[in-house]
């Protein structure tokens, strides 16, 4: 009931977020000073008449209300404008770049979550096997390592990775390898995943149903994987949604530094060339992804968490 009660406020928030994102994109594209032709004003070989003609051709002249209505209508049909810098439609440009960024996010977050959960489970497994002293020591070492990793900003991690990476992983124009940026992304998220998973597991392990499992003679693997881990989903699924939206932010830093041709690199290139249609489309896209991640997280949480599932049934 409480899940159902929280459904409509979530939908309303998602709608408001979408409206705010749309307004922000439009305001950025329309009201910021300068446009894609501003740099050409400094070129003495380009006549002023040509600039005026191009502006009339490519930049809309109607009032802002109509412009907003047309812009939203076009965006709803997947038409996100035209990039003068790249001489192609923004939609086709994004279609080319999005798969590369998704590949990086899936690989990086997959590595971070796999390693983070494993590192949180190993000390818990030692504890459930009766080796409490080893659990404490390993837990201390892992906490210290995670704290050190937290103290390294993403940009510093990327520079370190460039220095230490195998030659085959270094960025090239021909066929860039995703392993270097994915490893850095994984290292950036590993401490968060590890801390959250370790804390959630520690809380679940102190609950009565696990004590009952221990008394019934369940082994450590069954106790942790079958009973403890699913009951951490109320904490870990929202964290997964957060890491997904945060990964989009990290792409803007990571991709230009490591030469990965995704939307992060595109955003910096678009900023340098004042390509506002591309930037607006990227703001809209990342806003939509964040909203989808939140909604998906709610749905997955209800399915995974045994108590929430029982309540929903």
């Amino acid at each position: 009931m409480s899940r159902l009660g929280s459904f409509w406020p979530r939908v309303a928030t998602a709608g408001l977020t979408l409206a705010a994102t749309l307004l922000l994109c439009f305001a950025l594209a329309q009201f910021t000073p300068g446009d894609a032709f501003t740099a050409l004003e400094l070129d003495p070989t380009v006549p002023a008449a040509a600039l005026a003609h191009w502006r009339a051709l490519y930049l809309p002249q109607e009032n802002w209300g109509l412009r907003f209505a047309h812009w939203v209508g076009d965006a709803a049909h997947g038409q996100l404008g035209y990039s003068i810098e790249y001489h192609r439609s923004v939609a086709s440009l994004l279609r080319q770049r999005i798969p590369a960024s998704f590949e990086l996010i899936i690989l990086g977050l997959g590595l971070a979550w796999g390693a983070g959960l494993l590192l949180a489970l190993i000390p818990a497994w030692l504890g459930e096997s009766g080796r409490r002293r080893f659990e404490r020591r390993l837990g201390w070492v892992l906490h210290a390592l995670a704290a050190v990793l937290t103290a390294l900003p993403l940009g510093v991690l990327a520079i370190g990775a460039l220095l230490l990476a195998p030659l085959a992983w270094l960025p090239t124009d021909a066929q860039p390898s995703p392993w270097l940026p994915a490893s850095v992304l994984a290292l950036a998220f590993l401490p968060t995943v590890y801390f959250q998973a370790a804390q959630a597991l520690a809380q679940v392990r102190s609950r009565p149903f696990l004590l009952q499992g221990r008394a019934a003679g369940f082994g450590p693997a069954r106790l942790l994987l079958r009973h403890a881990l699913p009951n951490t989903s109320d904490v870990l699924v929202p964290v997964a949604s957060l890491t997904l939206t945060q990964a989009l932010v990290e792409l803007v830093i990571l991709e230009p530094l490591l030469g990965w041709p995704g939307i992060g690199q595109l955003s910096i290139q678009a900023a340098q060339s004042k390509d506002l249609p591309v930037l607006s489309a990227l703001v809209l896209l990342s806003g939509l992804l964040a909203i989808s991640a939140n909604i998906l997280s709610d749905a997955v949480q209800t399915r995974l968490h045994p108590q929430l599932r029982a309540r929903a049934a």
Binding site: L16, P33, G155, Q199, L279
Partner: protein
């Protein structure tokens, strides 16, 4: 535990001292270029070597410590104040609680880094350091307040249900009195945790944004733009002295992380991993 806290306090005190007196103690101007000794290793003349323009790394690092710290504090304080206002105010007003949660959800979902990129693109190429700093402060504040506000909301709501607060309200205490005498003293630890966390996040963001050209412009030194030449692998492998900012940056971020854990444990708000209560708050 006590020695860790003391170590953290000493490290942070040293950082504050360095940030305050460092810029005045620089032996050479941060702008002065010695082109004859560009990318030179440490010597008697240049204690920490020089960068690609022949500028003294030691002098620039001293000023960078002050500038980065000042910018990070300026980015953190508005976010923390807003979060405290919304968090404590929510304990008295369900409307404000609902509005705060909704506005926080929206602020949290908006892709601020792309907005920052777009705003930076819209600014003129010769935008002053002050204008760029103000943009960074505004966007960081808007993006960072919700997680802290949600944690403060939960803590304030919990405190309002305590007997001593209920008794104070029953005796006719004003909202301001309850906030000042009951909520704030019991939320100081949590506020300290989030101050340390947000400060670390602001420093990390500043460093990373500088590396992709979105931070303060040259010649103003910050930890981020001092690390910028290291993007070139050839320079990074040969000029080890250019890593000098890491000597201050890493201990400061580590100290802030430990301080966040320490004040969180001290305030009795949670156990291990308490420093990452930001994500937990959302959960």
């Amino acid at each position: 535990m006590k020695s860790r806290r003391q170590w953290t306090r000493w490290a942070l005190a040293l950082w504050v001292l360095l940030a305050v007196i460092g810029p005045w103690a620089a032996p050479i101007s941060f702008r002065a270029q010695d082109r004859g000794h560009a990318i030179a290793p440490p010597s008697a003349e240049h204690f920490m070597g020089t960068d690609e323009f022949g500028r003294d790394v030691y002098s620039r690092l001293l000023l960078a410590t002050g500038l980065t710290s000042l910018l990070a504090v300026a980015m953190t304080l508005p976010a923390l104040c807003l979060a405290l206002l919304v968090g404590m105010g929510s304990a008295f007003s369900p409307t404000l609680a609902g509005l705060g949660r909704g506005a926080g959800e929206i602020a949290r979902s908006l892709p601020w880094i792309f907005v920052l990129v777009a705003v930076r693109a819209a600014l003129p190429l010769d935008a002053s350091a002050m204008v760029i700093a103000l943009v960074l402060v505004a966007l960081f504040s808007v993006a960072a307040w919700p997680v802290a506000a949600w944690a403060f909301q939960g803590a304030a709501r919990g405190l309002m249900e305590q007997d001593f607060v209920q008794a104070s309200v029953a005796l006719g205490a004003t909202r301001f009195h309850v906030m000042r005498r009951h909520l704030w003293p019991n939320m100081r630890g949590l506020a300290g945790t989030y101050f340390a966390l947000l400060l670390a996040a602001a420093i990390g963001a500043e460093v990373s944004l500088e590396l992709v050209g979105l931070g303060l412009p040259q010649p103003w030194p910050t930890w981020g733009n001092m690390l910028d030449p290291l993007r070139d692998v050839t320079i990074a492998t040969r000029c080890w002295w250019l890593f000098a900012p890491l000597l201050v940056l890493v201990p400061v971020l580590l100290g802030l992380t430990l301080a966040a854990h320490g004040s969180h444990d001290q305030s009795g708000q949670g156990g291990e991993g308490g420093g990452f209560a930001a994500e937990k708050a959302r959960a």
